[in-house]
């Protein structure tokens, strides 16, 4: 296995040591122009995004928009129930669908949504350049038995497994049901995006086939999580259906299980700067397939 990156080049090393480390972020959070009129967000919102690493925007989509998207989601779910496609990820212990990937590529309604001018405008404004979709997916957290997602930085994975060079990407999550405190909402550690938690261990080959169902590598250590929480606290992205959350690629986030009858589904689009295109994975391994990480 050849390693195309010299160690000295990698400013965000992870899964290369037996000991975890907390490293300072080497990149801006907001790359764009904060002048009035430079994009959909005002200076205050941009400052908040810079400081907290996320922005929660309730009422971004109207009830009727949400209704349309939910019908599309339902149709897609039914189409996929028995599908034997890699894009369809199932729960660890059952055939139930947990996520569907590459929806911006494969499904008209979600392709249109991924090009929503307001969403793309905000992504461009924050990242200060043109953007493209690095990854898209729909997540469905069932009622009653929805499982937790443990803490992680998306960037850690995208860097190590996909070869994303720098922190110049963001996620946009569009909630299609009401997100309450009790049904396992997205939890974020505000401000944690300014610290890179270098994880221990090595990544096995073709790790992604398992990791999309249950994460075992790229897991931050408890001591770093404890420190980040003491420093910054934890916030939950709650809000009615139609809320949109933008969050930085390196913010520490996760969610608890969901025993309530209230399911949660979200559409996720990851926008990456066109000036931050993927190189070879920093693990030195084979890149993950295109439906998980768009190349070229």
């Amino acid at each position: 296995m050849t390693h195309p990156h010299l160690a000295a080049e990698d400013v965000y090393p992870s899964r290369v040591s037996d000991r975890p480390a907390m490293l300072e972020r080497k990149d801006p959070v907001v790359y764009g122009d904060v002048a009035a009129g430079a994009g959909p967000l005002d200076a205050e919102a941009l400052a908040r995004y810079e400081r907290n690493g996320y922005l929660c925007l309730p009422g971004f989509f109207s009830a009727s928009d949400v209704q349309t998207l939910r019908s599309e989601l339902k149709r897609l779910w039914e189409q996929s129930r028995d599908a034997d496609r890699n894009e369809v990820i199932r729960e660890p212990d059952s055939r139930d669908i947990r996520s569907i990937f590459a929806v911006h590529r494969d499904h008209d309604a979600f392709r249109r949504l991924s090009r929503d001018p307001r969403i793309v405008g905000i992504a461009r404004q924050i990242l200060g350049s043109d953007v493209y979709i690095h990854q898209s997916r729909i997540n469905y957290k069932k009622g009653f038995t929805g499982k937790e997602f443990y803490w992680h930085s998306d960037f850690e994975t995208w860097h190590v497994e996909d070869g994303m060079p720098r922190m110049r990407a963001l996620s946009c999550s569009i909630t299609l049901e009401d997100n309450h405190h009790c049904n396992g909402p997205l939890l974020l550690i505000p401000g944690s995006h300014k610290t890179f938690v270098s994880c221990v261990g090595r990544t096995p080959e073709a790790h992604y086939e398992q990791s999309l169902r249950r994460q075992e590598y790229g897991v931050p250590d408890q001591e770093s999580l404890r420190l980040l929480t003491e420093r910054h606290g934890i916030e939950a992205a709650v809000g009615p259906a139609g809320t949109v959350v933008f969050f930085d690629c390196n913010i520490m986030h996760g969610s608890n299980s969901n025993i309530t009858p209230l399911p949660r589904s979200n559409v996720f689009f990851v926008y990456n700067s066109t000036e931050n295109r993927l190189t070879s994975p920093y693990s030195g391994q084979k890149p993950r397939p295109d439906y998980i990480a768009t190349r070229g």
Copy 2:
């Protein structure tokens, strides 16, 4: 196996049919005198307890009380780490302690706490009689990997497995850490205490050895939970350490997992009316041992 209760006598049948059922509560919620001065709670608080099935009282214990209790808890935990006693219940997948039972019987500090005049006063006032401890325990929900407790009515189990005749008991939960929305707090369906959800299935003998670690019988069906939630919503018992929650024996409650670094521990005392002493279990099976359900 002889069944000491005729079917006609059991007003709260459960685990006797293949189909779940929602039955109306046949007992009062507040048995006591609501006249001013009849007990620690005023008429408004009693009315709220009657309506919602629980009362959350932040600031019940002072910070210094909490500090003392936490030291006691810590000592008890250390004593019990390698203990091979039935009272010490461990996590399903490890040796980590999840609960310790009969703390009011075995440990001075918790015996004293179980006799706190304000707590006992409230229990007496609600249940309208003398009371005794049916069960006591300390629950510890770890940070990072704390597991969920699925929805249940305590009374369903106490009735079927312990032979508690009627709904005339309550739990008192004393929180020893801050309970936030994000660290798996107690979730309650307010008002659900007025409906008895009869569960399907039969209870195997000596079921309790497993059920304290992972519940498989006496589990309410999803349709009933959906109906109760639509009707009543879900509330979380959040508050700083020292908060005390009183809740009716039949209220539907549970909690989600806890991925945060913030652990949660609670002391639980269950007070039963001396006019509601245990008979033979309604399952017709052998009673559970005394450390789980006090007899005589």
